[in-house]
Symmetry: C2
Subunit: 721 residues, 2 copies
């Protein structure tokens, strides 16, 4: 039974769980197995090669034998029950096969065929039938439209590609929506693997389900995802919480980011931010490390699975023997956002004594070419750098290209030997980085591999991996849940579906603790003038109508009115202009509004970002909104600190600090408003489609942040997520 012997036989309880039957099947039927070269044939052969001869059953209408193994015409003919089936028949016969397999005890299935939801139409119907059959049977299903999965740790392939026998073993699980992605990443030659899952359409089990299982899997220490989308954000959050609890990091490469903009919400705030930012916010919130390309994914996963311990401090100390290469490392580090901490005075003094007189101590550290003349220099530099309290991770960056002759490699081998010696007694984790992606000379690499020191390749991808590994990991599971509850009257009003007028939106906001301009609704010139006089001048008049989201365009706004006479005249102008430009609009009246001056204009909003629901957006308001594309996005809820951090990502923050001699604005009040809006997003997640507060006037410090204009769009139907 091949490598499967090397692991303990799963206990009976676990074996009965569907997901366990998928990853650790004791017996497998391959439906559609034949000697032809198709997917089912390859999957069957893979199982034979894996030592499953006594425990794999070909099922084929013509029966006979397949590669010498007696076949059965139907599942019903099998001599015994099986844990799992690999279904290799055409799409239209899959749901029947699932039902038949369930009747023979199978708790799990791999569906190889394509022809499901990816085709739309009939395919979508077939996928719904597949899901129904699996749910009826309580089965775990991998696929359809996939290669299946390989348990590398135990040598069990339920896999229709030939690439699996030589995969190196290790702690990394690769989960990929793309079959090709699964092959490429698993065969990169850089990663030690526990499992490889080609998840295909993820009709029944998605990456979140696999992750939840792998969080408990002894063979797995980390996961790398090649992802197309997230079908169920909540399930993914729970899976990530389990992975965090188990201390298993997750890195993701999401593909299709360049097209994601098309799905952006139509609401004004949403239009500034592509869905990619919602995914990034979701990943950040849940502590998922994000890679930008395959090489970054590989280097990050390599480091995650081979670094001896988590760095105790986030700082990276980097050493090289060339000034030019140190400069190159600095340039690339800056471009990927990695900052090297300054060394302590004690470390600098130690290095000053250690280094030749022409060298300059620092981080990154140029140990200079003198290391080749003085064999004690490099070890002393390593020791000094590692002793610095700001250094949590020691990164040895070194050119060691594969094209060195043996002669040339000798020098570099000595560096590697010194690194191994240091790591033997040193307490801080060490990583070796080749500044070229193309590989490391084997003579240099050998001692590092033997000592279990991670070897990364390529300056850019490796520094990104180091940044990822050194950064503290956050889990979404430990965050405070907000206390704001939906109010029955507002839920009822939102159910109507019609957009709120500015007046109504502001009433909603005030009811939930958000400050807005003082205002009253008037229906005659006299009433308008009286209200203005009571409120105090100057005032603003605005047409009040849920049908007119763009009031300025119909002449519905007049600012800065200083007297009753001006107010009366403005009232007449507004009524006249609106009647001409929008004769059919329902008019509630005219809003008399406090005029707020002297604030910094911000925009704050909620907009729907599939599949995550409402996201919070904040940025510079007024004319700067579109010009500066300054919005930052996060997923609710946010507490005040998180809201403040979000504001800090925008150029608005520069304005708020007191730009060009202006007084500092009340940023805490804006943060409070953003946090409050994020609680509204949670409480009314099923009822609100978008909220657009534009502008919010952020007054000088201590004087608050006030919503000047606002628009709320209820969900067109409840439960949209």
């Amino acid at each position: 039974m091949g490598n499967a012997e090397r692991r303990q036989v799963p206990d009976a309880r676990k074996a009965s769980e569907p997901m366990h039957s998928l990853f650790y099947p004791r017996s497998v039927a391959v439906i559609g197995a034949s000697e032809r070269p198709g997917p089912a044939g390859v999957a069957f052969q893979n199982l034979l090669r894996a030592g499953f001869r006594e425990r794999v059953f070909p099922v084929h209408p013509k029966a006979g034998t397949v590669h010498g193994v007696p076949a059965f015409a139907r599942m019903a003919d099998l001599p015994d029950e099986v844990d799992c089936v690999v279904i290799g028949v055409g799409a239209d016969r899959v749901s029947n096969a699932i039902a038949e397999a369930a009747a023979r005890g199978a708790r799990a299935a791999v569906v190889l065929a394509s022809g499901f939801a990816e085709l739309g139409g009939d395919g979508r119907r077939r996928q719904a039938e597949l899901v129904a059959a699996a749910n009826d049977a309580g089965m775990a299903v991998c696929g359809p439209n996939c290669l299946g999965l390989v348990n590398v740790a135990d040598g069990i392939p339920l896999y229709s590609a030939k690439v699996w026998q030589h995969l190196p073993k290790g702690g990394l699980a690769i989960l990929s929506h793309s079959g090709s992605g699964a092959i490429t990443l698993s065969a990169s030659g850089r990663l030690g693997l526990s499992h490889v899952v080609s998840a295909g359409n993820s009709a029944v089990c998605d990456l979140a389900d696999y992750l939840s299982f792998l969080a408990e899997d002894d063979a797995t220490t980390a996961a790398a995802l090649f992802m197309e989308t997230i079908h169920d954000p909540s399930a993914f959050e729970r899976a990530m919480a389990s992975m965090h609890e188990a201390g298993k990091p997750v890195v993701v490469l999401r593909i299709g980011r360049s097209k994601a903009g098309a799905a952006a919400s139509a609401a004004h705030t949403g239009s500034l931010v592509s869905s990619n930012e919602a995914f990034d916010a979701f990943f950040r919130r849940n502590g998922v490390i994000v890679a930008d390309d395959m090489d970054e994914l590989i280097e990050t996963a390599c480091l995650m699975t081979t670094l001896k311990s988590r760095p105790a401090a986030p700082g990276v100390g980097l050493i090289n023997v060339s000034g030019g290469e140190v400069a190159h490392a600095c340039d690339v580090a800056e471009s990927v956002g990695l900052a090297f901490p300054r060394l302590s005075q004690a470390t600098l003094a130690a290095l000053e004594e250690t280094l030749p007189s022409f060298a300059t101590p620092g981080n990154p550290l140029d140990a200079t070419g003198m290391v080749f003349a003085d064999a004690t220099l490099y070890p002393r530099c390593l020791a000094a750098l590692a002793a610095d309290p700001a250094v949590g991770l020691l990164a040895v960056m070194q050119d060691a290209p594969t094209g060195l002759g043996q002669d040339g490699a000798d020098n570099y081998r000595r560096i590697a030997d010194d690194v191994v010696d240091h790591a033997r007694t040193g307490t801080k984790p060490v990583v070796f980085i080749s500044n070229l992606a193309g590989g490391v000379h084997p003579h240099v690499r050998a001692p590092l591999d033997e000592a279990g020191i991670p070897v990364l390749q390529g300056t850019r991808a490796a520094l990104k991996a180091v940044l990822n590994a050194a950064a503290p990991r956050r889990s979404g599971s430990d965050r405070r849940q907000p206390t704001l509850r939906p109010q029955r009257k507002w839920v009822a009003r939102l159910a109507g579906g019609r957009p709120f007028s500015e007046h109504e939106t502001k009433a909603f906001l005030r009811d939930h603790g958000v400050a807005t301009t003082a205002e009253s609704l008037a229906t005659s010139a006299d009433e308008t003038a009286a209200m203005a006089a009571e409120m105090g001048f100057p005032v603003v008049l605005k047409i009040a109508s849920g049908d007119l989201p763009h009031k300025t365009e119909v002449g519905g706004v007049v600012l800065n009115l200083g007297s009753e006479a001006e107010v009366r005249a403005a009232y007449a102008r507004i009524v006249d202009s609106v009647a001409r430009h929008a004769p059919d609009a329902r008019i509630d009246g005219v809003l008399v509004q406090q005029m707020v001056v002297g604030g910094i204009e911000a925009i704050v909003g909620l907009a729907r970002h599939h599949p995550f629901g409402l996201a919070v957006v904040v940025g510079a308001g007024g004319v700067l909104v579109e010009l500066m594309k300054d919005a930052a996005l996060a997923l609710p809820p946010l507490d005040r600190d998180e809201a403040r951090a979000l504001i800090g990502k925008t150029r608005l923050a520069t304005l708020l600090e007191g730009f060009r001699g202006a007084p500092a604005a009340d940023t805490p009040a804006l943060a409070e408003l953003v946090a409050r809006l994020s609680e509204i997003a949670v409480a009314y997640r099923d009822h609100i489609e978008a909220i657009d507060l534009n502008p919010v006037s952020v007054l000088p410090a201590g004087r608050g942040a006030i919503v000047l204009d606002a628009l709320l769009v209820p969900s067109s139907r409840e439960g949209t997520a």
Copy 2:
């Protein structure tokens, strides 16, 4: 004499040229050669191994023999003249050695020792002596503080590192300020080389000198530079012009970019733009391809030297057999700025017929996994994509990782074979891209290498290389020289060195065809009021003083004055406020200025960017200057089209187009102003330190661009470059 036999003996004329003696020496003396492991010893051994036994002469005070070759105590003792010397003695004996070598006929020298300008102080003096000795002798000198150079084409090492014997031959010259950079890049295993030059301090010969020589060198078809700085921009421009004329592309990786900001000019405009942007502008102008890291440099150089022909159209057609990998390619392409052209209707129709029904024709093209079931599909896809008129370069992106088993690699080998078949008859250049940086399975790679098809590694670096290769190349040499000549009166005034007042700066601008506000200088309240009345209201009053660059801060500006009475009052306020805030400032009077309203505010300026002299900067003006960091930079001169393109790089361009319903502004007038300022930069390059036009009011289309405020700082000494 080893590989040197394979090339023609250089003719006598060429051999007499110093640079030729450096790259193609017939005989070499090694001063300081011994059997010890130091640099001179290694260099001597390298020459012996290269077959130079009869033509290399060790020079050492103790004479005797070195590795069996009789040594000479002094250069004067040599039996014959030599072309070149490798100087391996200590820094303080180098300039003597140069003189002695010159006396024995040497036209070229390699100076290995460090201890020169890189140390400052005494080292700088030693370097000046070295330069003087070399200039006296008319010698080409490589170094000091370098490894020397290797003529890979002919197997001639004047090189103190052991890494040279196995370097693959090809058309690429590597020129590196860093010795370590020279080793890493040359030994990457990816590049076929003609020459490797470790240029060190470049005291005598710099990269520009080597490039100028290599432009004429038969063995060299392209160059890759690992650069710290440019010492002489004009020499570099001339060298690039020669390389362009010879059809030899150049790619550069400049290191130390992350520190370069410190050298930025102190002038207001300059503070927005780091010197890195000046380097980029210089490289762009001279058609130098810029790489951001070593892997990009390697992939770009690899493509430059192996692509069969220059693409006739700039468009890239990309093909892959996986939808997931196509999406990944799109994501990464967008992040590096590579856009794939749309295919023609004819191509789409052809692909529609070719592809399976579930596939979608497009570029990048997903040929789908069906290529493994239908052997004719992939070749037909290649043919259709290559036939599209928008496609100039065919990029085959494919996973082919080194960890595939032989079984797994077979499928991918078929793709490679199809690509080779296509390239045999196809007319458009083809490149194969492995989406992983770590390498390509040898079974897949073999037929590609044999057919001479470039194989690139790593999605990001490869797509950047393709972008670089497909982009049209510009040469700086073909650009129009401006006609504006310096005016004698202004040269005299600038020689004074004192900053110009606003009034004087505007007079200078008007004298050179730049429109400014109408204005007059007044020295009393009566005169001020009278001038305002004549000019027409509203007007602006400003204090006039070369000592007060920041007029607003001393209460020296009052805007929007609508009557003579307001003007008189404002005059009194200004005089009073300035007397209090700046009692010692020299006051010329009060400027009465036309008030311009309704324009978009821009900032235009000149600032010095070492080593290139004055650069032109343009961006959004007013409060947006610092908030948006919106400036774009170019090196003068610019014609109107180039100025317009520069404006197009800024967000200002969005404002000018008529942002949010505003009328379009007079962008052509602004472009004219920018071009004119760039001509001023050329004409007065030795006399002006900075010009700051802030704001320039760009009026609605057809109404011009007018300088509202301006500041000119003359050079503190003439000739600063």
